[in-house]
């Protein structure tokens, strides 16, 4: 009896296994569903697509402009919306060849992927004649064509150009109210900054009676990249490119890395001096971004942070405290410095984007897919990709000009509103220089607060900026550089944190430079110089 029960159970299991095997189910994503061949007179072509979107972005079905764009192109797209872990999903998706027709997102498929997964993606050069809007973009902004073209001349991913963003992501802020409270002048050199920060610390700058709650200086905790102290190197004449997160920059046509440059050593000595005097947030290397931002919002109308870097005051300090801060010009390293001051030139990385939309080579109806792509690059549509639908997010002024409307939800700031409403910076788009669009409050603030940096940012983009966005490396070089950079950054971050908090940079500098060489830094510079010279000669 019991034996029978056991056998029955085993039988059930086997049946289950077999049922599982044959369960195709209507659940499977049918990448080859869709009308084979062309349109059957008015019926929409079905396409599948994946979008890697910002977590705040609302469901695509609620975006009016998208529905209209799909209608205009005669397509009906089944979207899969991914907000996290795209990197992990991408690997198995590509390796198994299980791909949708279109991919959308910021660098959704990288150049390295194109090189590795040959044959998976559609070369768009042959289809460009069906995309006049894209051709228009290539013609007016030749940089976009450079970004899109692989070393072998093929085009697999289309870029974006969003035009309005400033020349730098990082703005430097100081609490004007504190300066006024203490009767101090705006600092213009590193030493003057030191004196001002000391005053902030010792004299109860925010006037609340507590002498110890001011944090004179704060930043996220890195060296380069946005909002980190490497921008101080502008005070020694170094022009960073795209934040120079890994230290690379160009000077007089030569590729260099500031991590082994003596001017960087000077900056580290300065930061250590500040740290020793208690002028830097003791948690600078341990706080997470969440805490970093929270601290800057102070308490009520009492600010906590005196000097820092950020995107725009309202984001960095919150609406209530933002008016207390002034955006600054770069600081000279010393009063005697006679060179030209500089900053981080980020125009390219802020306004251009690579591989924002990619087509699969297995798409059954390539013309339809290209039609949709072309529609996205239409002036009016691109604008809505970036800021949201006409009517709710953008107003048509009737005279050929447009204005970005304030958020419909009054509790939201314009940045969040933009990201919630639409694809924003993650989508493919072309915003022509000729478009007449009045920006929203946040963007206007960014531009106004960028004014003090104008002189520093008038650089020679040919000779002083590394064109990171426009250079394509071979797979072998890319792999080698990435391994070396991992080593170099490990060394750099460790030592930077150590030297700023404990000092010792002068004694350990030579050994550090030697180690960096061993880590592969010089080889990387050589490789990059080669590509840079090549790029310059082709212009």
């Amino acid at each position: 009896m019991k034996k029978a029960l056991k056998l029955v159970l085993t039988a059930c299991l086997c049946t289950t296994l077999m049922a599982g095997c044959s369960n195709n189910g209507g659940n499977e994503q049918s990448t080859d569903a869709g009308n084979a061949g062309g349109n059957t007179g008015g019926a929409k072509v079905k396409l599948t697509a994946i979008i890697s979107k910002h977590p705040l972005t609302k469901p695509l079905a609620e975006m009016e402009w998208l529905q209209k764009a799909e209608d205009a192109a005669g397509v009906d797209i089944e979207w899969q919306e991914i907000t996290a872990d795209w990197g992990q999903k991408k690997g198995t998706m590509l390796a198994s060849g299980d791909t949708p027709d279109l991919f959308v997102g910021p660098n959704v498929i990288t150049d390295a992927d194109f090189a590795q997964f040959q044959g998976l993606f559609q070369d768009l050069t042959g289809l460009l004649d069906q995309a006049p809007n894209v051709q228009e973009m290539f013609a007016s902004k030749p940089e976009t064509k450079i970004i899109a073209t692989q070393p072998d001349g093929k085009i697999y991913g289309l870029p974006k150009y969003q035009r309005f963003w400033p020349a730098s992501a990082t703005r430097q802020y100081i609490n004007q109210t504190w300066l006024d409270n203490l009767g101090l002048a705006m600092p213009t050199t590193w030493d003057e900054l030191y004196d001002v920060l000391v005053a902030f610390k010792e004299k109860d700058a925010n006037g609340n009676g507590d002498l110890n709650d001011e944090i004179p200086m704060d930043w996220p905790g890195g060296i380069g990249g946005f909002f980190n102290p490497a921008v101080l190197l502008g005070g020694l004449g170094i022009t960073l490119s795209d934040g120079s997160g890994q230290g690379y920059f160009v000077e007089d046509g030569k590729v260099k890395n500031f991590l082994t440059d003596e001017r960087y050593e000077k900056m580290v000595i300065f930061l250590n001096k500040l740290y020793k005097a208690g002028l830097i947030n003791p948690e600078v290397f341990t706080h997470d971004y969440s805490k970093f931002q929270s601290v800057a919002r102070g308490e009520g109308d009492k600010a906590k942070v005196g000097f820092t870097w950020g995107w725009v005051a309202s984001d960095r300090f919150g609406e209530q405290l933002a008016p207390q801060y002034t955006s600054m010009s770069p600081l000279k390293e010393s009063a005697g410095f006679s060179g030209k001051l500089s900053w981080s030139y980020d125009f390219s990385t802020l306004n251009y984007g690579v591989n924002q939309i990619v087509m699969s080579a297995k798409t059954k109806n390539k013309e339809a897919a290209m039609r949709f792509i072309n529609e996205l690059y239409k002036q009016e549509v691109s604008m809505q990709v970036l800021f949201g639908s006409l009517g709710t997010n953008i107003k048509d002024n009737g005279d050929g000009s447009y204005s970005v409307l304030p958020p419909a939800d009054s509790k939201m700031d314009p940045g969040t509103w933009k990201w919630t409403s639409t694809w924003a910076d993650n989508g493919p788009m072309y915003i022509a220089d000729s478009l007449n669009l009045t920006l929203g409050k946040d963007m206007q603030e960014v531009l106004v607060q960028s004014e003090p940096l104008k002189d520093a940012l008038s650089v020679d983009t040919e000779k002083d900026v590394f064109p990171g966005m426009f250079i394509k490396y071979t797979t072998a070089d890319n792999n080698a550089m990435s391994l070396s950079n991992t080593n170099v950054m490990n060394l750099a971050n460790t030592n930077f944190a150590k030297w700023v908090t404990k000092g010792g940079v002068e004694a350990q500098w030579d050994e550090y430079v030697k180690q960096s060489k061993k880590a592969g830094l010089d080889q990387n510079i050589e490789i990059m110089q080669k590509y840079y010279d090549d790029y310059v000669s082709k212009k």
Binding site: T10, L13, G87, G91, A95, A112, D113, Q116, F117, Q118, G119, L120, G221, G222, P282, E283, F285, T286, H287, D288, S290, K291, T475, N478, N479, S482, L483, N485, T486, N487, N490, N493, T494, F496, A497, K498, T501, K518, A519, G520
Partner: protein, 303 residues
């Protein structure tokens, strides 16, 4: 009776074979069939030719890893973190189980049991977030406590010497309760008559623990210890990655985080596979050795 070979006893044991068949089938299909992928550590990944078609590179990627700039640091850090976690973390659930088992009031025992296993369910992202808030020297409660006992100028999150202790203690805090469940279950099978007779013989509580409770746990302890040796170079990725910062990087950069970082910019599948295989081979050797030692010493072993 009958031959002593596997085949000989097959007929006699046919029922046993039927009972184990589903498990064998499952493991074979889902674990062994994909194993051909291991060759990716020895071959380039050539998409157009499939996983098995790339160029054969032999030990090239292993060599690349061993000769790489960070190799010694990675190996040392990984080993230190896993090893200390095992050594300190292994006894903790055992002690906890012994302690909880001694609680005589049923309600209190149940309350303690339920409480201690709760932290296990907290996701890593939240745990590290909590650590950052609570351990912050300026604003966290643990920070306050540290200041009040005089250790105010140690930043728990910021130094190379505190990284491993913080890591281990938070690990124990999170998983000790959950891991003690298996020991508690083993203790629950002890015949209560043993306790009664021990009491009548005048044994103290300590003696009860030493001579009744602990021996009941020994088989489980041995097996679990052998298995934990198989994790000698496994640190897990997510927690360490989230807890890394520039100040603890010299001790917190481990193999798992390194593989992640090289993968961000480039698709170096073969290199990553080779590193992974290197890692697991070392783990396996340790396990095997531990198993052999245990077989000799106590006759309990895994295989």
């Amino acid at each position: 009776m009958g031959s002593r070979t596997i085949l000989g006893t097959f007929k006699r044991d046919i029922q046993l074979w039927i009972m184990i068949f589903p498990a064998i089938a499952v493991i074979f299909v889902f674990n062994y069939i994909p194993m051909y992928g291991i060759q990716l550590a020895f071959r380039d990944f050539d998409f157009s030719k499939g996983l098995t078609g790339g160029e054969w590179r032999g030990l090239f990627y292993f060599k690349q890893f061993i000769e790489s700039f960070l190799f010694t640091d990675l190996l040392t850090n990984t080993f230190l973190i896993s090893f200390t976690t095992i050594i300190v973390g292994f006894p903790a659930p055992i002690i906890l189980a012994l302690v909880l088992n001694q609680i005589q009031r049923k309600k209190m025992k149940q309350l303690m049991q339920t409480t201690v296993y709760l932290p296990h369910f907290i996701s890593i992202i939240v745990l590290v977030g909590m650590l950052n808030v609570l351990l912050s020297p300026e604003t966290g409660i643990v920070g306050y406590l540290m200041k009040s006992i005089g250790f105010g100028d140690i930043n728990l999150l910021a130094s190379t010497s505190t990284f491993i202790p913080v890591n281990i203690i938070s690990d124990i805090w999170q998983h000790c309760g959950w891991n003690s469940i298996i020991y508690l279950a083993a203790l629950s099978t002890v015949d209560p008559q043993l306790y009664d007779s021990a009491k009548m013989d005048g044994a103290s509580r300590w003696q009860t623990i030493r001579y009744i409770d602990f021996p009941a746990l020994v088989p489980t302890i041995v097996i679990l210890f052998i298995l934990s040796m198989g994790n000698i170079l496994s640190t897990g990725f997510e927690k360490i990655f989230l807890m890394q910062n520039s100040l603890n990087l010299p001790v917190s950069e481990v193999i798992a985080t390194y593989v992640y970082k090289i993968g961000i910019v480039s698709n170096q599948f073969s290199y990553a596979s080779a590193i992974g295989l290197f890692n697991t081979v070392i783990n396996f050797i340790f396990l095997f050795a531990m198993n052999a030692i245990s077989k000799k010493a106590s006759n309990t072993s895994l295989f």
